[in-house]
Symmetry: C2
Amino acid sequence: MKNAFYAQSGGVTAVINASACGVIETARKNSDKIGTVYAGQNGIIGALTENLIDTSKESATDVSALKHTPSGGFGSCRYKMKSLEANKAEYERLIEVFKAHDIGYFFYNGGGDSADTCLKVSQLSESMGYPIQAIHVPKTVDNDLPVTDNCPGFGSVAKYIAVSTMEASFDVASMAATSTKIFVLEVMGRHAGWIAAAGGLVDDSIPVVILFPEIDFDETKFLSKVDKNVKEFGYCTIVVSEGTKWPDGKFLAEQGTRDDFGHAQLGGAAPVVANLIKDALGYKYHWAVADYLQRSARHLASESDVEQAYALGEAAVNMALEGKNSVMPAIIRTSNNPYTWEIGSGELKDIANVEKMMPMEYISDDGFGITAACREYLQPLIEGENYPPYKNGLPDYVVMKKEMAEKKLPPFEV
Amino acid sequence: MKNAFYAQSGGVTAVINASACGVIETARKNSDKIGTVYAGQNGIIGALTENLIDTSKESATDVSALKHTPSGGFGSCRYKMKSLEANKAEYERLIEVFKAHDIGYFFYNGGGDSADTCLKVSQLSESMGYPIQAIHVPKTVDNDLPVTDNCPGFGSVAKYIAVSTMEASFDVASMAATSTKIFVLEVMGRHAGWIAAAGGLVDDSIPVVILFPEIDFDETKFLSKVDKNVKEFGYCTIVVSEGTKWPDGKFLAEQGTRDDFGHAQLGGAAPVVANLIKDALGYKYHWAVADYLQRSARHLASESDVEQAYALGEAAVNMALEGKNSVMPAIIRTSNNPYTWEIGSGELKDIANVEKMMPMEYISDDGFGITAACREYLQPLIEGENYPPYKNGLPDYVVMKKEMAEKKLPPFEV
């Protein structure tokens, strides 16, 4: 009977811990087939440095509370393993650590990079004569993994952005006659407009202009669209992706602003867009930058997102027990209305380093909104509310005890 | 039997419509004593221009839904009536409009300025021989009205800021070992630190540094505190009020940044603080500006805030029916633990133009946190959750039909 290793990778989300909960609870249910689940402290770095959290020391109540706790309960990191050729020693170290702790299952919870790491670990472990079953558990607010219909973490961000867009628009609408007419909300998504697209899920009676990273920023066309909305509706809400770029490829956020000392000022796209409007059209504005609030907002998580995140963690363990390797459980959409889905799977070789972009047919012809097809895709992902329990007015999130397993190997520098 | 006039004033909140609901529903329950409730379209401007919404045309279901809908359902405005001496004509016009529509009750839902207007209308109406009973219904996210224990709108913003601070801190904590160590959240409150103080409601295990508008920004002391937190906890969260100032009185947000064309760039305090930390300490940062999201976040409203907002609207009508004039219903706290409160009242002459500042004993000695007394005061205000109903993944907020009453007077320019 082998032990398991679980690690969280890259930017955390409102529901990555729900996947952790699915992995750990399912492993516990199969304690006759699977031993201790170790978790990497701060992700894969914890494996390399042999900092393994012994999750068997966490109470069932605490593990269960992971399902409603945002962030990475065991710590995550942005650490991309180099290619096998460039740093074989790192991969070998991983496998040595796994061997030292009798680990036969590797569950890696992340995006495209971690799918690639997962695949390589599986391949190298075989050639090193200590085979590891490597299963990737999908996670990314960017929603850019192939094979799976959507990525856990995305649905909750989308819900947060859609609700925030709606609420701020209601606010502006009620003041616009004599005050603020423009509200700009900056959202995440440096490469893909999935998150920005969620701003388009509000009712059509709310005038929303979306700036996607996929579409070069056309200032004239944009200002004309905004002006038209203000004249028709009295106000306009703009949802701008942090990745929106000028035609020359420069990010809007890198507008070359300088402070009194000449230092480059990193601004954000929202104030840039707001100032452009003010200068050209004279409308009073307000702007917000949601930043981490959007991806950590477990208080407003989408029910389907939470359920899918848990189900994928559960499925990963079941697939491991079925002897599978180099695979990723995935969400397969079986119907839009009513929304139904089931768990399928994909091969890591088809997933690693493949980015699923937003289809151009999801963006409206003028480049400032979403199409009916996009709405049909996104709508089910924000459905349902899944509230955390509260204590003293605040969510009752759990903090893991993080008892460390004893080290068995010499130190290793990362 | 006289009709009533209700208007929303100044910046809207997550619960000002709950007060509107309290006013309208209570008036409807007393339809033998009070006639039609007219609402000002876009606040007091609607009265001056005789744009009166006939709320009797709104269905009971829609009026009831105001209780869970943020923003100003009838429109609000930032329009401060000048002094009686400077613009007596405006006050006289108000009273003419009230007279033309047989309005005997004036319910004005706002902050200190509107309490002042309310008082003047009552005084002038008496001297003009058409007495109006003027009742002020308190509302302001700034929490700066005297007499009342707290102001409807504030509790929900405080809950939003406390929850957001907690969630973003969980996020940063789980990435800090190898990535972002600093998170800066900018919050509202140009003159008073009440909203910023709410960031201090998170558990003591989360290192939060608060920058209050009441305390001159001491860069050296601040950087040292942040560095200490990062060294002890691995990360630091900063909640900065938009009103935080340098010792010379300049807002942090007005750091004199210029774009490529030399235009002044209105930045926000958060990026300024984040850049100061980066320059001095080298820590990677993220920042967010909550702006309107915080005051429109009905999805995360505080239960006590919603109940109090409604109760004050209800009390205003009951006070009018009891023949009272130039008064404001107020929240009287009767116990902290368990939290209990009742409705009291104050005279408008004691409320108009009086600002209740945050007591200095609520700010910790180092100027970067809240005291136990402050926590005791704030804690009950964020207690309880009051979720709106949802439809298709989004809150089911109501939009009023806004049928206008027929005009009876010649036009009036504002």
